[in-house]
């Protein structure tokens, strides 16, 4: 099967499954699908840095968590009618999703710019360890800063609103997240075939060769890392809205690892890699988690098997190699 028709099949499934769940009156399954779609958005974000840029970031939970806290802080101030700051200008909380998304994107983008500017001074193993450490920094900061719940996290009572939709209805919220996933995928596709994406790919394959033809890898990578952080931050805001809860766990290094796992299970640098990976991950969690409390053992074994024997992920197995040189 070609990669393109497989992707179409995945998209069709993402439309058909929740509609079927709606018909069968299984709102839980719609929520499960929403979770998969949101995690897929986070994965699409990472895939821009990891797949296109070759940047193995083990700290993407930082952006996911920042997006989550952007939602939590804005919404909790809005629900208490307590402005975030009064001087020098009045900033109030909000329950409007578009505003929250914008804030999440800007905040996580700025964080990605700062972390990227520091981490990209190095490469290889250093980069992996440093992104991991910066992610952990946010984790400990969130735990030790008591204003927004500290270790206990922050709940909001009602899901935030989107003009013209009732976001409390599962299928409507699903539709919203699905639309964002499509936009994120379109962005990835657009970047991958743009001159910027091609230059980024060249720098990934051979930094030296890219430099000799006049491409400065640092700037390209920093831009890719920042865009990647922004998308993952947006996914974090959606994830927090799905659970109506944010906690320091959103910053945890396990989450960074899991986002990488989505991308790899599906297939690195493939457009639909993170989507397939997130769906498979949620299915495993649901099925294996029902069989055994220790389902992470099976997940670990599966992951080990994929890394050692099935490079290219699920899409690689189905569509054959190619696409990622």
């Amino acid at each position: 099967m070609s990669e393109r028709s497989f992707n179409a099949l995945v998209l069709l499934g993402l439309i058909a499954f929740p509609l079927w769940a709606l018909w069968a009156d299984e709102p839980f399954l719609i929520t499960l699908a929403t979770r998969a779609v949101i995690l897929a958005i986070a994965g699409v974000g990472l895939n821009i840095a990891l797949g296109l840029g070759g940047l193995v970031s083990l700290g993407h939970a930082a952006f996911f968590g920042l997006g989550g806290y952007a939602m939590g802080i804005l919404a909790s101030h809005a629900q208490m009618y307590d402005p975030i700051m009064t001087a020098p200008i009045l900033i109030e909380g909000t329950k409007s999703m578009p505003v929250i998304w914008l804030v999440a994107i800007v905040v996580s983008g700025l964080a990605a710019l700062a972390i990227g500017a520091l981490s990209l001074r190095t490469s290889g193993v250093y980069f992996i360890m440093i992104t991991l450490a910066f992610g952990q920094m946010f984790y400990y900061f969130a735990i030790s800063w008591p204003a927004y719940g500290g270790e206990d996290g922050l709940s909001i009572y009602v899901r935030n609103g989107f003009p013209g939709l009732n976001t409390l209805v599962p299928i409507q919220f699903y539709g919203l997240t699905f639309a964002i996933l499509l936009i994120a995928l379109a962005l990835h596709w657009q970047i991958a075939r743009s001159p910027f994406g091609l230059a980024l790919n060249a720098a990934r394959q051979s930094s030296v060769r890219a430099q000799t033809v006049g491409i400065a890898p640092f700037r390209l990578r920093l831009i890719a890392f920042t865009i990647s952080g922004m998308i993952t931050g947006l996914a974090g805001a959606l994830f927090a809205d799905l659970n109506r809860f944010v906690s320091p766990t959103m910053f945890s290094w396990q989450l960074s690892g899991e986002i990488i796992v989505f991308v790899i299970i599906g297939g690195v640098a493939r457009l639909f890699g993170p989507v397939v990976g997130a769906i498979v991950f949620i299915m495993l969690e649901h099925v294996l988690g029902g069989l055994s409390d220790y389902w992470h053992i099976y997940l670990g074994a599966l992951l080990l098997g994929i890394v050692l024997f099935a490079r290219g992920g699920i899409i690689g197995l189905i569509a054959g190699r190619g696409g990622h040189g």
Binding site: R121, I128, M129, H296, L303, L304
Partner: protein
């Protein structure tokens, strides 16, 4: 703030630092010689702690517990190297990260399966408990002092091993040029297993020693692992000396930050706000240190470009 409190905190920082060194030394050796990034190093720390707690519970002997920790972690390390890690040397770092992440999942859940989710406790032996009087009237727990001693002794031992033994020559040669020493007739795959098991044993020792002052539980290894990463980023990957200096810097920065920053902030803020802001900033202290070192020397204090 009294000088005695300050001196105690410096000692606490040293104690924390030398334990980080035991972790970081193994990581940096494995990276320096085999070029491998091993996220599962924290699992070996956890295995050491659990083995020690189990043996101490069964026999009541702390020394036997330490021996068990060393043996269990070294054995787990050798097995993992033989069956998984060996396939990863030629792979890129992404594959190494994923495979060792998978190992963490397997080890953590496996340990939870065997020992349950409740933390175990490992008691400090009677002959090491209680305070000692140091010059200057400082009372300090004997056990923590012993940890500093063990850590420094291991550092010295590693220095002698690497610089003055035949194995050390091979390790250094392996780090410099693996094809060449294989061509000279050194069994490179056995050397790798030995180095990996040595690093694992150090991690297991650290787990057992720290397990006696904290609780022994699943997931205890990863926070330490990440700190050990910070240590080797600061010290320079592959350098044992860098690991020691980095570990002591991180240990002292972490404890002194928690002690000094809140009163420092209290100079220009109201006390309650100063306490929260100070402790929040202190929690970020070592990462800021890492960022500063990166700006100044991207390869770490003792790093060399390879």
């Amino acid at each position: 703030m009294s000088l005695i409190l300050l001196a105690e905190q410096v000692l606490n920082g040293l104690q924390f630092g030398v334990m980080l060194f035991l972790m970081a030394a193994g990581l940096t050796l494995v990276f320096g010689v085999m070029g491998l990034i091993n996220l599962a190093h924290g699992s070996l720390y956890m295995i050491g702690a659990f083995a020690a707690a189990a043996v101490a519970g069964a026999t009541g002997s702390f020394l036997l517990a330490l021996v068990a920790a060393l043996a269990a972690a070294a054995a787990a390390g050798a097995l993992v190297e033989r069956f998984v890690i060996r396939r990863l040397y030629d792979r890129d770092h992404l594959d190494q990260v994923l495979a060792t992440f998978a190992l963490i999942l397997i080890f953590s859940e496996g340990t939870r399966w065997v020992f349950g989710s409740f933390p175990l406790y490992l008691n400090i032996p009677a002959w090491l408990s209680g305070p000692v009087m140091l010059p200057g009237g400082i009372q300090y727990p004997m056990y923590r002092l012993a940890l500093i001693g063990v850590g420094l002794a291991v550092a010295l031992g590693l220095y002698l091993l690497i610089n003055h033994t035949r194995l050390g020559v091979r390790i250094r040669a392996g780090a410099a040029d693996r094809e060449m020493i294989a061509a000279l007739g050194v069994d490179i795959s056995r050397l790798y297993t030995v180095v990996f098991a040595l690093g694992a044993a150090l991690a297991g020792l650290a787990g057992a020693l720290v397990g006696a002052i904290q609780s022994v539980q699943v997931g205890m290894g990863e926070p330490v692992l990440i700190l050990a990463f910070v240590v080797i980023v600061i010290g320079g990957i592959g350098s044992i000396k860098g690991a020691l200096v980095g570990a002591l810097l991180v240990g002292v920065t972490d404890t002194m930050g928690g002690l000094l920053l809140p009163p420092l902030f209290a100079l220009f803020m109201e006390p309650s706000a100063a306490a929260t802001a100070g402790s929040a900033l202190a929690s970020m202290g070592i990462y800021l240190l890492m960022a500063a070192v990166l700006v100044w020397r991207p390869l770490g204090l003792f790093g060399v470009r390879t």
